[in-house]
Symmetry: C2
Subunit: 215 residues, 2 copies
């Protein structure tokens, strides 16, 4: 059964696609045109009632929330492809810790920056300088903690690549390549080395080649 | 080895405590006085670099992020106490989906409401009516989706109690019992029945009896 992934152009969906490639799971994508509001259509809302991307269908199993979908496939195909949850329960605990740090500390300020610096200009909305300044300051302090963490281990959860790293790829790509904020990564030696490593993974390169950001 | 849990009075920590009780794991608590800023002390920051609660120590294993800690103990003691991750990988996928819905859809607006309606008045800050109105509207639309979901299954991830339900307890308690917004739950038949069920669990009753909110 081929996994059907909705909305491959969306940043959150790219997490799922990288995970599926690393786990050697076959998938097909279904385009959802958010410029036409297709994510709010009645058919789409039947699959994802919050009207956001992504959602997957795997036979009669439907699942949404990108980080939950990654966890599902990393566990379902534990012995296939690259191990992405760590080898022990303690390692998995740390993967979960950094997945949650990404969702609750890293994502909110970087998402606000993406809205202000990438998406508002696209639709003719003037960016809000105060919100940009506040979000950048918050992200700076988060990245300072990442710098300290990554001075002690090669990846976020330890010396192994995991879902926690994958989860950061799409918005770090926006920050470095679309927002003119590359210095926030480059000025931090260990964050920069980590970004260089994870953004060179063939799975990530394939995803951005096939499904170019933004949107 | 008794698990050491820091900051039992904090809402996020209460998730962890309910989980430990349900899993029959012995713990002791360490008070962190946030009115004195102890969560930003050098000693605390060594355990939790973001300076927020909770964090646990289990022998020489340290873990933070409340939802990650719950997952760790629910998996570590899978066959002890109440099963909180579902019985199959597919059930666990849905637990993860609703844990992430809680973290990314439910938590931001209810957290803003708590700040405005509970914590700002405590420290003499005038609440922001526009932010209250916007947060309440967002939470209403989230709870409408919960109402639909809970019309089809007894709990969020299916007909079984899980971490996804536990994760909602502390802030729903604030909403119902401390913010004067009980109607947001009571006006929704299925959400109300679900809240009645999960807030009657002996584990939750024990936690709020021992560690009274707020803060």
């Amino acid at each position: 059964m081929v996994v059907k992934v909705y909305g491959p152009l969306c940043a959150a969906t790219k997490r799922v696609l990288v995970c599926l490639i690393e786990k050697e799971v076959e998938f097909e994508t279904v385009h959802v045109d958010i410029t036409k509001g297709e994510q709010k259509s009645p058919e789409y809302l039947k699959l994802q009632p919050f009207g956001v991307l992504p959602v997957i269908q795997d036979g009669d199993y439907t699942l949404y929330e990108s980080r939950a979908i990654m966890r599902y496939y990393a566990e379902k195909y534990k012995s296939q492809g690259v191990e992405l949850l760590g080898k022990t329960i303690e390692e998995r605990g740390l993967v979960e810790e950094w997945l949650d740090v990404e969702a609750t500390n890293f994502h909110p300020p970087i998402y606000n920056l993406a809205i202000q610096l990438m998406f508002s200009p696209m639709v003719g909305i003037t960016p809000n300088p105060k919100l940009i300044e506040e979000s950048e300051a918050k992200l700076e302090s988060v990245l300072n903690i990442y710098e300290e963490r990554l001075s002690k281990s090669k990846y976020l959860a330890g010396d192994f690549f995991s879902l926690a790293d994958i989860s950061h790829l799409p918005f770090l790509d926006y920050l470095v390549n679309y927002m003119g904020k590359e210095y926030m990564v480059k000025d931090r030696k260990h964050v920069s080395a980590w970004w260089g490593d994870i953004s060179s993974k063939p799975s990530w390169k394939k995803v951005i080649q096939l499904y170019k950001p933004p949107i």
